[in-house]
Each structure stands twice: as C-alpha cells, then as structure tokens.
C-alpha cells in the first residue's frame, strides 16, 4: 500500500506543549505528568491523580484568537494549539490549493463546557455560555475548519478511546483513495467531571499513579491533551517539498465483539487490528521494533492487550513495548494520536522510551514492558494500539521515511 507521509505534528499533554517538551520529559523519567487535580473543579480532588495541564481554561483561551460568537471549550483550545504547531511545521501546505480534509477524534467533545452549563440548565436558569452548541462533539472540528479557511472533507470520529487513531486511519484511507491531497487528523479530549465520574462508576480509576502491565495495577489515571498531524500523499510531497517526519504504512480496525465495556481475554480484536496493520504495511512481525500500547493499567486491558501482543509476535520475538499512561495519563480520544506523536519522536531520535512505574511482572504474561530507556536504538517500525468501549480496536504502523 502507498505510504502516507507525516509532515507536521503538534501535541500537548501534562508533560508539555511540544513534541520536544514531551520527548525531554519522557527521557528524564523523573518528572511525571501525573499529579493531584488542581484545575478541574470536582469533588474528586485529592482522590484520583490525573495527567492535568496546569492552566485554567480562561487563561488558555487567551492563546487562541477567536472572532466567533461562542467561547471555546477546553478540548477545542488544546486541539487548536496542536493543529497550529502541526501546520506551521508542514509549512502551511494546506493552503496550497489541494483538496484538504480535517478529521478529528473526540470522546466527549466540549463536555467541560456542557457540565458547567447543565448546572444552570437543571436549575431552570439560562447559562451565560451557549454550552448546547459549544459542548457538541462536532464543535471542535467546525471551529478548526473555519480557522483553516474551509475544508473539502470534514468529519469527527467518536469511537471512545480509539477515536483519534481512527481519525488518522480515516485520513490515511481518504488520501490513499485519491479523495484528498492533504489531511489534518488527530484528536483531543479535556479532563472533565463527566469522564472522571463515568470511569469511577466502573471502579476503574486508581488512587495512585497508575502501573501499566504491572501485577499490582489497579486502574487508570485520566489525562488530557491533543495531538494532530499534517498528512500528505507522495504527489503532494513532491509539490510541497516538505521533509517527512515519518510514514504511516499500515492501519487495522477490528471489533473485539466480546463485551460492551471490556476486552476479550485473548485480545481478539487487538490481535486482528495489529495483524491487519502489519500486513498492510507489508512487514513481517520481526521487523516491528517497538509497540506503543493502549496500556490503560486496568486489570482487563493490560491482560488482554498483553495476550494479544504475545499472540501476534512469536515467543522470544516480542518487541519492546511500553505504555505512556503512567507518564501523562489516559487522554481518552487523544491517546492514539499522542502515542503516534511519541512514536514519531521515537523514530526521529532513535529512542525507545521506558514504561514508568513498573515493578512486578504480570503472571498472565511471559513478557514484561521495557523499563529502561534505550537511546541510539533501531526504531524503523512502530505499532500504535488504541481500544475503546464498544469493542473498538485499532492499530497503526509508523515507519521511518
């Protein structure tokens, strides 16, 4: 299959505002992006640590010029800042007249605005912000489409925590099919009470820093952030003269069809997604150097995803795998895109970042995650995984360009 070239990226999370910030923070291994809640107004402050960006939404709003009548929700602000960085790096190729697509992933959109507005709504008062419009999942992509000066294709994808990886996958397929020349794709989610209480209702939140792929793991630390990429076809690249950061060579999307909110013990859907992505990339499993897992640190996810990895890769050939969730939390829809950004910096710098806060092997698995950062490593092909409630399982292969 024709590779698709990544020529711009922007991302933010609790570890920093740029890919370089995040790279340095991951290398240091000391500074974790997991901390007590300080910004979000919730009764769960002091109970559940999160990967929170330590700036008030009102303060962040001042970073994004907005001539529209509606104030931006936190998710849209994070997304816009990431998109601005991505299009700058890609030298504004989206303005050169090709057919442009914008595909954005989100789980709950502007819920941070909606849940504030609903307090007034249920009390019979009219809230000063039009949260009914601002809170919609589609609002972020609409704002971005306006800001980009119009787009030829527009979609928001909401497949729970796999949303952004499926947004990037959708963009890759549109580009390969010749429907677009340039696409901007990724995803964003901000912390909000709705998701904290939703995951808490499943008893899936850890009260300590999470421990992915550890025998003692007991749940998620939620996080927030955004990551977006400028994607180009080979033909667009010849015209733009942009230097690709990496290539997307394979994408797989399958359903686990096991349970609405949990993954099958053998990770059936994840295995299929990884296998499809590797096949589409035309690679053998031995050529995969690094796996950036979904790795939420729930007992179910890590056992299933670990089993899936061991099922896809032969015994003794399991590539280094890690989870970034103990570094900046589970950023829900943004997690696949943030993993993609880290995968790109891994390829560009020859770094295999470590999985932090791990100490004890899982009895269910014969492998363990990488726990020491490896620099000057061979990183030619990276797999990104993302799963979401509803059985959604997706994988993507990033390759050195």
């Amino acid at each position: 299959m024709e590779p698709i070239y990544i020529t711009g990226m922007g991302m933010n999370c609790s570890l920093g505002w740029t890919p370089e910030d995040i790279h340095q923070a991951l290398l240091s291994g000391v500074a974790s992006g997991i901390s007590d809640i300080e910004i979000l107004s919730t009764r769960h402050r002091g109970t559940f640590p999160v990967g929170e960006i330590k700036r008030e939404t009102e303060d962040l709003r001042s970073l994004v010029a907005n001539s529209g009548a509606l104030p931006l929700n936190r998710t849209t602000i994070l997304a816009t800042l990431a998109v601005e960085n991505a299009i700058e790096q890609a030298r504004y190729v989206h303005r050169t007249g090709g057919r442009l697509g914008l595909i954005s992933g989100t789980t709950v959109g502007g819920m941070d605005a909606s849940e504030d507005g609903y307090i007034d709504h249920v009390a019979g008062r009219v809230h000063p912000t039009n949260f009914f419009q601002v809170g919609d999942c589609a609002f972020c992509a609409e704002f971005l489409a306006d800001r980009l000066g119009g787009v030829n294709y527009l979609s928001t994808i909401s497949t729970a925590c796999s949303s952004s990886l499926n947004a990037i996958g959708n963009a890759v397929q549109m580009l390969r099919a010749g429907q677009l020349d340039v696409a901007i794709a990724g995803g964003a989610d901000a912390l909000c009470r709705f998701t904290i209480n939703g995951f808490n209702s499943f008893m899936l939140l850890d009260q300590e820093r999470c421990r992915p792929f550890d025998a003692s793991r007991s749940g998620i630390n939620l996080g927030e952030g955004a990551a977006y990429f400028v994607l180009e076809t080979a033909a667009s690249l010849r015209k733009s003269g942009n230097e690709p950061l990496a290539m997307i060579t394979g994408y797989g999307n399958h359903n686990d069809r096991y349970h609405p909110s949990s993954i099958s013990p053998v990770g059936d859907g994840i295995q299929l997604a990884m296998s499809s992505a590797i096949n589409e990339a035309g690679l053998k499993t031995q050529q995969i150097n690094y796996v950036l897992t979904h790795g939420t640190a729930t007992p179910n996810n890590d056992a299933s995803e670990g089993a899936a990895i061991e099922g896809v890769f032969s015994s003794g050939e399991t590539p280094a795998y890690i989870s970034l969730k103990s570094s900046f939390g589970h950023t829900l829809a943004a997690s696949g895109a943030l993993n993609t950004g880290v995968g790109i910096t891994s390829i560009l710098t020859g770094t295999k970042y470590a999985s932090y806060n791990w100490s004890q092997a899982m009895p269910e698995l014969s492998s363990v995650p990488l726990t020491n950062t490896a620099q000057d490593a061979l990183v030619n092909h990276v797999i990104i995984n993302a799963t979401g409630m509803g059985g959604y399982c997706s994988s993507m292969v990033l390759s050195k360009s």
């Binding site: 919730t42 009764r43 769960h44 009548a69 959109g109 909606s114 849940e115 609903y118 307090i119 709504h121 249920v122 009219v126 039009n130 009914f132 419009q133 809170g135 919609d136 999942c137 589609a138 992509a141 609409e142 489409a145 306006d146 000066g149 119009g150 787009v151 294709y153 527009l154 979609s155 928001t156 994808i157 909401s158 497949t159 729970a160 949303s163 499926n166 959708n170 099919a177 429907q179 009470r193 709705f194 904290i196 209480n197 939703g198 995951f199 808490n200 209702s201 499943f202 999307n253 399958h254 359903n255 069809r257 609405p260 909110s261 859907g269 299929l272 409630m389 509803g390 059985g391 959604y392």
Partner: protein, 326 residues
C-alpha cells in the same frame, strides 16, 4: 467515486402530516422483539435499539447473514442518556453513577452494540459531524469496499431526541452559522440502516453514484455556487435526474442555499420536500436516501431512474447524494 449498491434498508422515524415548530416529532417505534430478545431491551439505550432494529431489518431485506463491518453516523450528540447522566451527576454531587449509563452515553456505543450482537469482528466506526455524520459514514464505506467490493457493510444514521433537547434548543437556539434564536425547526429523530456493497448483487435496489459535501464557512455561504455541486456529481452537465428529494427546511433557515441549488430543477424535475415528512435532525440525509430507494423500487423503470437527495443541517452543512437504479 466507486458506486455503493444498496442491498437492503430499514427506517425508524416519524412520518408527519402537520409540522410544528414548537414540539418534538417522536419516531414511531417498532416492536423491537421482532429482532431483539425481550430481556436484552432494558439494558439497551434508545439509540442502540434504533441501530440494532434497523440493522437487523436491513440485513433481512438484503438477505445478508453477516456484514463485513459497521459504520454509523450519529448526529445529535446530546443524547437522552447523556442528559440523564449529567443530571444525575449534578443531583448526586458526583456520587457513584450507573456504569451502563456512562457506557451508553458514549456516541460509539450503538455501532459497538451492533458489532457485538452480530458477532462481527470487522471494521467498526462512528462519525459524529452533525450534518455530515451520515455522509462521512457513506464515504467511509466507499473506502472500505475499495479493496473488497463484494463485501457488505452496514451503514446508517442515528438520531435520538428528547424533551430536554427541545428545551435546550429553545433556550440556546438551533445550530446555525450565526446567532439565530428565531430559527424555526421541526425537531425530529430517527434511524436508517443500509446494507451496501461495492458491486451489484441479486438484492441490489439502488446505487449511490456520488456524494458531495460542502461545509459552508461564513465566506463560503456568500460565495458558494451550485455549479460546484453540479461539477462534482454530474461533471458539469445540466439537470439530469428524474426526481429531487429536497431537504429544504420548513422553517426559515438555509433558504438561500436551496434557492441556488433548486433553480435549475424547478419546472423541469419533480421536487419533493422530504423533511416535511421526516422532520429535521442532523442525519436526515439517510432518510432522504431511504425515500429515494423507495421511489426507485416502487416506480417503473423509465419513470424514475435517478434521484438527487439534497440536504442541509443549519446553514453550514450542505450535502447532495446521487441515487440511481443499480
């Protein structure tokens, strides 16, 4: 664009005789137990029921036992279950809420439920771009069928509305490009599922030959010309369809867009305003397509061979779908 053959379709929705701008047109719901076990119904949210019922009915019509994948478009993202969940969260001051409610409030849940019930481990996706949700889902199906056109996918559009949604619309206005508190809209709801393939089959009833979308930025609203639509769907040729199913709203929005689009057809081609029957919601295009398939199936060949479905949501989302005989 590779053609999409519609091999089976099913619809849940209202069929209105007298529109109203003040209330909600509730869908006529079927007997779900025709396809779903009674004991499973209480765990399913209304959107999942809509999706599951129409999927099973469309699969039956297409005589398809197992689709290769599920792609849904969900328009209104303030679902009833989300509304209830947020209210409970406020009432209980963030006390422990119901995990099933949280799960069902996620917009991708309906497609996931369909995949689970059908034991389908193929491609699954959910598009939630208001007035392009169904259009993006159809485009997604085109992409999936490009490599395996003989496969069959379930594609659909889902919208569930509720009284609280009507209250919100009353207080905060409908989605529109500009502040438009006086927009008149017959709020409705519904679902359509279609079984589609990339090649014609024994049960093919119609064929989607073109999908056109334009997101009208403030600048584009003034500058957009219907020539662009004509170029995209007809290579610039003149009106060459037998029927136009127009989504021109009953109220006062997006009228100038329809004026520009329909001028060429008026007097030459029958134009039927389908949202006068279905009401208004973001995935109404799917209902226009459903009615186009019905027209093609019930009219004699030679009378209606091609139908143009044009639809808007607010005055920023405009789409057109060309539906022909297979």
């Amino acid at each position: 664009m590779q053609a999409l053959y519609i091999n089976g379709s099913s619809r849940i929705g209202a069929l209105l005789s007298a529109p109203s701008f003040s209330g909600l047109a509730v869908a006529d719901e079927p007997d779900y137990t025709e396809y779903l076990p009674k004991n499973s119904l209480r765990r399913l949210d209304r959107m999942s029921k809509f999706g599951l019922y129409t999927t099973y009915a469309a699969l039956a019509a297409a005589q398809c036992e197992q689709p290769a994948g599920i792609i849904m478009g969900v328009g209104q993202t303030v679902s009833q279950i989300l509304d209830e969940m947020v209210r409970k969260m406020i009432d209980q001051q963030e006390g422990l809420t119901n995990p099933t409610s949280f799960m069902n409030s996620l917009l991708g849940t309906a497609a996931g439920q369909i995949a689970l019930q059908l034991s389908c481990n193929g491609y699954t996706n959910t598009h939630t771009q208001r007035g392009f949700s169904v259009e993006a889902a159809l485009m997604d199906a085109v992409l999936q069928l490009a490599s395996c056109p003989e496969q069959e996918f379930v594609v659909g559009g889902l919208d569930v509305t509720h009284d609280s949604y009507v209250d919100l619309a009353k207080n905060y206005g409908h989605f529109a490009s500009r502040s438009a508190p006086q927009v008149e809209r017959q709020i409705a709801e519904g679902a359509v599922s279609m079984v589609v393939s990339g090649v014609p089959g024994a049960h093919s009833k119609a064929c989607i030959n073109g999908i056109y979308t334009i997101f009208l930025t403030d600048e584009a609203i003034n500058n957009w010309s219907a020539k662009e639509l004509k170029q995209a769907l007809f290579n610039g040729a003149g009106p060459c369809v037998d029927l136009v199913l127009s989504g021109r709203p009953l109220g006062n929005e997006a009228q100038s867009i329809y004026d520009r689009v329909l001028t060429e057809y008026e007097g030459n081609t029958p134009i039927s305003a389908f949202k006068e029957r279905t009401g208004e919601f973001p995935t109404a295009t799917a209902h226009g397509i459903y009615l186009a398939v019905e027209s093609l199936s019930t009219q004699a060949a030679g009378e209606v061979n091609s139908v143009l479905v044009i639809n808007n949501f607010g005055d920023r989302y405009l789409s057109a779908i060309l539906v022909t005989r297979p």
